[in-house]
Symmetry: C2
Subunit: 231 residues, 2 copies
Amino acid sequence: MKKQDISCFECNIRYCSILKNCERKFLELIDKSKFCMTYGKGQIVIRQGSQIDGVYFISSGVAKVFVSGYRGRPLIVGLARAGSVLDHTTDELGKQQISVTTVEETSVCFIESKDYESICKESSGVREDLTKVYQRELNQMHARMVHLAQLNVREKTSEALLHIASAYLLEQSTEPFEVNLSRQDIGDLIGITKEQVSKNLADLKHEKVISVKGKTLQINDYKKLQDIVGL
Amino acid sequence: MKKQDISCFECNIRYCSILKNCERKFLELIDKSKFCMTYGKGQIVIRQGSQIDGVYFISSGVAKVFVSGYRGRPLIVGLARAGSVLDHTTDELGKQQISVTTVEETSVCFIESKDYESICKESSGVREDLTKVYQRELNQMHARMVHLAQLNVREKTSEALLHIASAYLLEQSTEPFEVNLSRQDIGDLIGITKEQVSKNLADLKHEKVISVKGKTLQINDYKKLQDIVGL
DNA sequence: CGGGTTATTGAGGGGCGTCAACAACCGTGG
DNA sequence: CCACGGTTGTTGACGCCCCTCAATAACCCG
């Protein structure tokens, strides 16, 4: 983990993050109080149970956000990518309720809660965007709950692939891309075993829906994947 | 559904809802712009896809909050009870993303989004509580996702019972109480079939953990249920 | 190149969904 | 009040999906 400050005004996610409508004077405040860090792949950004209270912005890279589950298995509740914000992730006592580890090299910015809250209080731009983020997050979580509850493993595998693609690629690109997630990780995204992931990826490969070679993945047929997931 | 206004100042949930720290002048505003309604059991409060944009407060009763799922099965994402708030339940276009139907006779208050937002903007008390509500909600959803993903049906049944009890009872009361949820509903709370609910309730009954007679349910041993759920 | 992790594939078995038959319950109308 | 049809709940048989375990292969890093 190395520290390297970038100006908020030149940040690549300035216009796609939750701060896109942040007024200039507040962005200046954030710029002064923030910490920027870059983590190598596989490093811990947040550890569940720790007491750091604040907000993290992901400015590049991909990280897995997970909670500890049963019998030693985590559940990956989502993949964070450039533009994602990790907010309100603590309980009432300020203890982190999630863990975050990087999958790629990723850069994050951190603002302490008190600084962030004072800005939220003042800035209607930030507040409105925050509201929308919540709305989307809530609806996404509901969708994922349905997937976890009702899909079979083939459908779950397809769902996981779509989730991964949306974290790694813009739109529905059919470009090959390198994924540093293990089969176990993919399984933990959707609550199935690594063996089932292997088998179902093999199936989808034979059906030419995807191509897999080593860690590179390529999605040839988004429509088919969406059809499998259904709804 | 019948309309019947109650003053916010005399409302039974005034001090346990999200408005508990709402300043007097804002509560006056809410009091003027709100609509109070009482629904009989089994009535629709919100229909997924409808365009009503605003916030609902539950002042009494119990309602199921659900999203449509696969193969005609809904997933009940939670039970709302007195003090619950249904907020940010629409997508960007203002379409409701959840359905809510009453299980008991329940009273709700409704405030239009624009009124609500102007109050959020002004009232730091409301805003802070809202933040905490989000925090809790998010963490609860994560917990439920883990349950959906990783528990077996016996554990899921126990989890559902704890969920129901917390919606119907104060603390961990061992009083019998009447539940108007069908076995199917209980199954839809946690993604299992009604038959499995039946079987597992019978098991728990034989183990004296619960008592069931008709629609009345009694939880004798909370600790045991929590042990079964584990973690 | 070699040891350790990760991926693949198959065999086996059990958990749980599906189906079906029957019982209990509920509101309605005779 | 009982009759009765419709809904809901209970229980069992069956079978398949998917988890577990294991053996082998592929990969990765020093």
